[in-house]
């Protein structure tokens, strides 16, 4: 009974109710107003301009009802409310469904959200993979297939954003010796705004679905009659607020909250990756926000950004028309580097864990640190490689091909450093290390298939084929999924104080790695043989039916292996055994403190007195409590 009371009065439930009521009231009000003004509001499953307004305002309804704005509203009234710490007299578990400013609580909130969303996105993939296992349409029609793959794309992207936010929030502050982020309330806002964004996004599935893919290119997205597209665009857009706010927060935190003695080149290497990703997130997100707004505005208000002029009289007058390639530029200016936002933290995890499990210093710390920045910078000037077949002048194509191939340089720096770190190391093959090695192998597959698509001549052939699907999944599994799972296993005893089962962890690994290799390579092969992406069916004469069935089996294997992980983790929470404080022999600051970490991470300030990655060297200390540092 108490439990039910705590759930019903939680910020999560209050917010969802607030959002529902706001959406309903605003929608009805807008429809009446538009009827009164003489507009026809009966076209489609809902009235589009009213629906847009309702979705936008409903987010504010959620945040107000959940209490995310409470302190800021008090500030507007001239008060200066103190930060609230702890569970406010409720049981500890309620912190995860209420607005909490602690970075570790927010990190875990993101982590749980990420896994839940991952299961949903995976389920959608499995549904359309079953459809694709045989030629001919079995149980899906075209619209359902289109909605499923579009939703799979964007839902997985939201899951990835939650996953990197989980790592950056949980680890960032404690790794630099801080008690929290620079702006704890803004941090809570970042998490909570992503919840109403997700509900708006998911509502797309019930108001007609959509068939634009996650890229939503005009002129299809501006003319499609599947009205779920508006909710997809708005959900995507609102999630951007979360990205920008958390990126900004992490940048400031890293600049000003580092422990005494922790110069930039003595930070844990994950922080470099996290900051590079954060700088990208805080800036480039704006351009996709604009691109999405333009499509929303063209659909709802009639602003014609993407419709070329066709009226000969207007052309005679010199009137300019819209241009669909404008969208592609704005979209990819964000969406190519966004991939680096997803993988940089993962690559940081690889560099962070390798020295621990090889008991050797990280090879070329500065090079690794700067390669993260390098990837972020070079990655920002390559976007038009997605447009080689979009009718772009050839004088634009060549520079974008060259800059794209340049990305291989900072990425190669990372690979060489990893190999050199492993070289002659005393390797331990615990589950996190297995996932790190799996990540390196899979990321290599993604990396090697990249230049083939970045080169104009080969891209002309492979563009929009299943080869792209194989390449993309390899980069994301290698750069995000495997390192994220490595991070979950590695920091699980730190975050929960409990140890998972090594045997089940290894079972997860040995199913998922071969499963992924088979899936990705076979996807590439069917692509070369002529399978198009985003198509519900293929003819038996293509000769790829066996490959398609194999991909489906591999997908199912990956899905089961992830369920094994979740089972393993959840069961471990109920075990009575406490994990040892530093199971991996790490030198990083978070392992100085007990598990789970205390509210403010440390008893007092800490100080850096040595190099972070001197594993295997005697008498070398990285961090000590400042009180013990002696100066």
């Amino acid at each position: 009974m108490r439990t039910l009371y705590y759930i019903v009065t939680s910020a999560l439930v209050r917010g969802l109710i607030g959002q529902g009521i706001t959406a309903f009231v605003v929608y009805q009000g807008m429809v009446s107003l538009r009827n009164a003004l003489g507009y026809d509001t009966t076209q489609g499953v809902y009235d589009e301009p009213s629906g847009v307004m309702a979705a936008l305002i409903s987010v504010i309804g959620f945040l107000l009802a959940a209490g995310v704005f409470t302190d800021w509203l008090k500030w507007i009234g001239g008060e200066d409310p103190p930060l609230k710490h702890g569970a406010q007299g409720r049981p500890e578990w309620t912190r995860y469904i209420n607005v909490d400013v602690n970075h570790k609580v927010i990190g875990i909130q993101y982590g749980i959200a990420s896994m839940v969303i991952l299961l949903l996105g995976g389920l959608l993939a499995i549904i359309f993979r079953l459809e694709l296992a045989m030629p001919g349409l079995q149980f899906l029609d075209g619209d359902a297939y289109n909605t499923l793959f579009s939703a799979h794309g964007i839902i997985m992207i939201v899951s990835i954003f939650s996953g990197i936010a989980a790592m950056i929030n949980y680890l960032g502050p404690v790794m630099i010796g801080a008690s929290d982020m620079s702006f704890p309330r803004l941090n809570a806002f970042s998490y909570w705004v992503s919840i109403p964004a997700a509900t708006v996004l998911l509502s797309a599935l019930v108001v007609g679905g959509w068939d634009t893919g996650w890229v939503a290119y005009p002129t299809h997205s501006t003319t499609t009659t599947m009205l779920g597209v508006q909710m997809f665009l708005l959900g995507f857009y609102i999630n951007g607020f979360s990205s920008i706010a958390s990126g900004l927060n992490m940048v400031v935190t890293t600049v000003y909250m580092r422990a005494k003695g922790m110069s930039y080149f003595r930070m844990p290497i994950f922080v470099w990756a996290a900051v590079s990703a954060s700088i990208l997130q805080a800036t480039i997100t704006q351009t996709v926000g604009l691109a999405l707004t333009m499509v929303v505005a063209q659909r709802a208000l009639g602003l014609e950004f993407f419709t070329p002029v066709t009226d000969p009289a207007l052309i005679e007058l010199g009137f300019p028309g819209g241009d669909p390639t404008l969208y592609q530029h704005l979209f990819w200016f964000y969406s190519h580097p966004a991939v680096y936002v997803w993988i940089l933290p993962g690559l940081g995890v690889i560099s962070e864990l390798l020295p621990v499990f090889t008991r050797k210093p990280l090879f070329g710390y500065k090079w690794i640190a700067l390669s993260s920045v390098g990837i972020a910078l070079v990655g920002s000037i390559v976007w038009a490689h997605h447009m080689f077949t979009s009718g772009m002048p050839v004088t634009w194509k060549i520079p974008f091909m060259i800059s794209t191939l340049f990305v291989a340089i900072p990425t190669g720096v990372k690979f060489f450093s990893w190999v050199a770190t492993i070289w002659e190391g005393k390797m331990r093959f615990d589950t996190p290390m297995l996932f790190v090695l799996g990540a390196i192998s899979v990321f290599l597959l993604g990396g090697l298939s990249g230049p083939i698509l970045g080169t104009i001549a080969t891209d002309m052939h492979l563009h929009d084929s299943y080869f792209v699907v194989g390449h993309f999944h390899a980069t994301i599994f290698g750069g995000f999924v495997f390192p994220f799972f490595a991070a979950i296993y590695y920091w699980w005893p730190k975050a929960t104080g409990k140890m998972y089962s090594e045997a089940l962890g290894k079972l997860h690994f040995w199913i998922m790695v071969p499963g992924f290799w088979v899936m990705s390579l076979t996807q590439m092969r069917t692509g070369v043989l002529g399978m198009r992406r985003r198509i519900a069916d293929y003819g038996p004469d293509l000769g790829i039916a066996d490959e398609q069935a194999l991909i489906t089996v591999a997908t199912l294997a990956i899905g089961w292996s992830i369920l094994i992980m979740l089972y393993n983790l959840i069961v471990s929470l109920r075990s009575q055994e406490e994990a040892v404080p530093n199971p991996w022999g790490s030198r990083s600051p978070e392992f100085m403190s007990p598990s789970p970490l205390p509210e403010f991470n440390f008893d007092g300030p800490i100080q850096v007195i040595g190099e972070p990655y001197d594993y295997g060297l005697d008498d070398s200390t990285y961090v000590v409590p400042a009180s013990a540092a002696g100066d």
Binding site: H85, A282, I284, L290, A297, E304, F305, L317, L330
Partner: protein, 209 residues
């Protein structure tokens, strides 16, 4: 289950001091301005990407020049009063602070009404319609996005003016006023780029309705 150790001592031993927090706020605001610059540069890029034709190259719609010139002047003047307010509070000159803040907000409002009533043609009959191809789309997107920031700036100025009236800021500690000033100057600066892009650069194309 709890992933944060339960401890009843809710005092942060490493709580940032006020001056440390202000330093962080300042950097945070600058990063925010940097972020917004990506939005505004993307809009400028859109303007130069779309407002072209094969004969004239870069073009612009032939809009009334005088009102835009006047309202731009009004917005620039408001930045002067914003600066005056910030200097006044740092010298503890409450009277000048109060009326300078109000004047800034008032000039901001004049600019806003200038955009909405005159430029958007609601008062004088539309020069350019929403649906007028790329001219209409880009014009309303750029002025609209900028106007949205002007509205946020005016709201911020009024909140800070009101809290200032209550004596919440001192000559030494008036971060909120500084934040207001940075944001307001930033919004002005954006218009310094937008005004020529919309009204001055390129061959004027006559509008017919």
């Amino acid at each position: 289950m709890s992933a944060v150790a339960h401890d009843h001592d809710h005092h942060n031993p490493m709580e940032p001091t006020r001056s440390e927090q202000v330093k962080m706020n300042r950097l945070g605001l600058w990063v925010f301005c940097l972020s917004e610059s990506f939005l505004f540069f993307a809009l400028l890029g859109t303007r130069f990407y779309l407002w072209r034709n094969p004969v004239d190259g870069i073009i612009r719609p032939d809009l009334a020049q005088i009102p835009a010139f006047i309202f731009t002047g009004v917005l620039l003047a408001s930045s002067y009063f914003m600066n005056r307010a910030e200097v006044a509070i740092s010298k503890d000159d409450r009277t000048t602070f109060n009326y300078s803040m109000l004047l800034t907000a008032a000039l901001g409002l004049v600019f806003l009404f200038g955009v909405v009533l005159v430029e958007w043609g609601l008062a004088t009959g539309p020069e350019l319609l929403l649906g007028d191809g790329a001219f209409g789309a880009v014009f309303y997107a750029m002025t609209g996005m900028h106007a949205l920031h002007v509205i946020m700036g005016i709201a911020l100025i009024l909140i800070v003016w009101n809290n200032g009236r209550k004596g919440l800021y001192t000559a030494e500690d008036h971060w909120a006023v500084e934040a207001c000033a940075i944001f307001w100057h930033y919004v002005d600066l954006v218009w310094v780029f937008f005004y020529p892009a919309l009204y001055l650069i390129g061959t004027a194309i006559e509008l017919h309705h």
